[in-house]
Amino acid sequence: MITLKNIEKVYQTKTIETVALHNVNLHIPKGEFVSIMGPSGCGKSTLLNIMGLLDEPTNGLVEIDGTPIGRYRDKELSQLRNQKIGFVFQSYHLINDLSVLDNVELPLLYRSGVSAAETRRLALTALEKVGLSARTKHYPSQLSGGQRQRVAIARALIGQPEIILADEPTGNLDSVMGEEIMNILLQLNSVDGTTIVMVTHDENMAHKTERLIRFFDGQQVSDAKTATHEFQKV
């Protein structure tokens, strides 16, 4: 699904040069649920941005479904993001002046050939999946953090992306709500077969996924199948 080869990311500011990622090689196969852990500032978000085509590596190659994306223009990259990738952020990133339904519909506004009626239907289906059918007319400010994150997940999955990139999706939530979100993601992965890459600081969450990659100072330090997963599979 996504392959990273020799990825290097250097942030260059006037005074300092920060190496955010160094020599990262990764392959995320289709259908996998991967979690990424590491201390703050080790480059996890940077990695996710590069996988999500929001940022370009300083060096190295990103391949999506075997196609290197290096030569794509902004318009083509945007279309790829729109069709293949769903994003979930720690801070939800909902538009406060739009209702839940309108927020969820957003990705399809940037996809041509989807009618308004079809968009609405898909948005309702997505909201049903995250258990928020009763809150479609609400505005983000009227929802709890967990509910907001569920709206964000509905928005990420309305376009039926092959992969969801989640950057600390439970980072702002208490353990109960975090659990809810985690269950939705697990469900998406096991039932719909959506590939998921999730950054987390929570060992428990990480151990519910198939594979755990640890980062330190911009480099992978470990990459292994999780015990829980092995246990579940047996």
Binding site: N49, K75, S78, R81, P107, Y110
Partner: protein, 392 residues
């Protein structure tokens, strides 16, 4: 996408309220000033109905109250002026000569209709002096001496308002209990007040000196030969003073009077336009500032939209689109207000003037907001998605 923009603006109507009112008032001021400008320009482009070049106005103010003596002098002045080689023709009139600061009007009634019209008292030769063109019927003259009625020539505006579809030639309009005006001719245009004044209904009444033994008229229009200058003016005034003794005589060219009148119309217009430009500049600056601020405030939203698949071009178009939608809200209000002027006929101005001004004001507002939105929107489109999301 357009629906999305309307929804977004509508849901943000509270924070956009100030901008909407600002654009609304800007539109109204523009509409008012443009209406005035269009009105003036349209008038200016219409014919005056006379030729004022090489025409002088001699103003005579007698010093004594003796009607008989004054009348004697007047007739001598007429004789003498006509006799100058430099003079082509002369005609007496009243203080409402072309481009003079004076008006005279009268009520005219025909059938059920009654209107107020400008009245111009002129001698037969006025037609030659001012080179007025009669389009229907004829000018008055000697042949009217025997008539029981007082012949008048009316302008088209009067014909349209008083007679509407009817042929006015030969029609009688009561002047008083014993005398009727009779329409003998029509001129298409006559706008003596200024080049910027709209056509008003008006009519010419014949000055018949022999019939009115005691009448006195203090304004003499003189058409001089082309190229006649100040030297002749001095000579003429000197000679005429010899006849009139202590009368006050003043000569002015109609061209000079026209310029004075034009200035009077143009100067306030320019002042208004300057004030209006300042206002618009201020609004533009404010708009630019608000848009600029909005975009930096909406970094997170921009990053999010980019992540959801918006290309940089789509972000650009969204921000331009939002401003256009905003302007549309204001303009809907503004136009609803502005169309009341032609609909209710608040002032006596042609509806076309308002509609032209309306169209211009709408276009200018759209151009203005697009101009203000151009740079901020480009900045928004250039924001790097990863950085925009990071900053939130």
């Amino acid at each position: 996408m357009i629906r999305h923009l309307f929804k977004l603006i509508w849901n943000r109507k509270k924070s956009n309220f100030l901008l909407i009112t600002e654009i609304f008032f800007c539109f109204l001021v523009l509409f008012a000033v443009l209406s005035l400008v269009v009105h003036n320009v349209r008038n200016y482009s219409k014919p005056l109905g006379f030729e004022h070049e090489n025409v002088w106005l001699l103003t005579m103010r007698p010093a004594s109250d003796s009607t008989e003596l004054n009348r004697q002098n007047l007739e001598q002045v007429l004789q003498r002026t006509k006799a100058f080689q430099e003079v082509e023709s002369v005609a007496l009139t009243t203080s409402n000569a072309p481009f003079a600061f004076s008006q005279m009007n009268n009520n005219l009634a025909y059938g059920q209709k009654e209107i107020m019209a400008n009245e111009y008292l002129v001698q037969d030769d006025f037609k030659e002096v001012m080179q007025v063109q009669v389009s229907q019927g004829r000018w008055f003259g000697r042949q009217d001496d025997a008539s029981h009625h007082q012949p008048i020539v009316i302008n088209r505006a009067l014909q349209q308002q008083l007679f509407e579809g009817e042929d006015p030639l030969g029609k009688l309009i009561p002047r008083n209990d014993s005398l009727n005006y009779q329409v003998v001719g029509i001129v298409e245009h006559y706008r003596p007040s200024s080049e910027y004044t709209a056509e008003e209904p008006g009519f010419f009444v014949r000055i018949d000196l022999p019939k009115n033994e005691n009448a006195f008229y203090g304004e003499l229009l003189i058409r001089v030969k082309r190229g006649t200058g100040v030297a002749f003016e001095e000579k003429m005034v000197k000679e005429l003073s010899g006849i009139t003794k202590d009368w006050t005589l003043e000569v002015s060219t109609l061209e000079k009077m026209r310029q004075n009148k034009s200035k009077l119309a143009i100067v306030p217009l320019i002042a208004l336009a300057v004030v209006c430009s300042f206002l618009i500049f201020n609004v533009a600056l404010g708009l630019f500032g608000v848009l600029w601020y909005n975009i930096s405030r909406r970094n997170g939203e921009i990053g999010l939209r980019r992540a959801m698949g918006a290309s940089s071009g789509q972000i650009y178009r969204q921000f331009i689109g939002e401003v256009l939608v905003l302007a549309t809200f204001s303009l809907l209000l503004g136009v609803a207000f502005a169309v009341q002027f032609p609909l209710l006929q608040v002032f006596e101005v042609e509806s076309a003037v308002y509609f032209i001004a309306l169209g211009m004001a709408v276009s200018i507002i759209y151009l203005l907001v697009m101009g203000c939105a151009f740079y901020p929107s480009r900045q928004a489109a250039a924001i790097h998605p990863a950085i925009a999301l990071h900053e939130e």
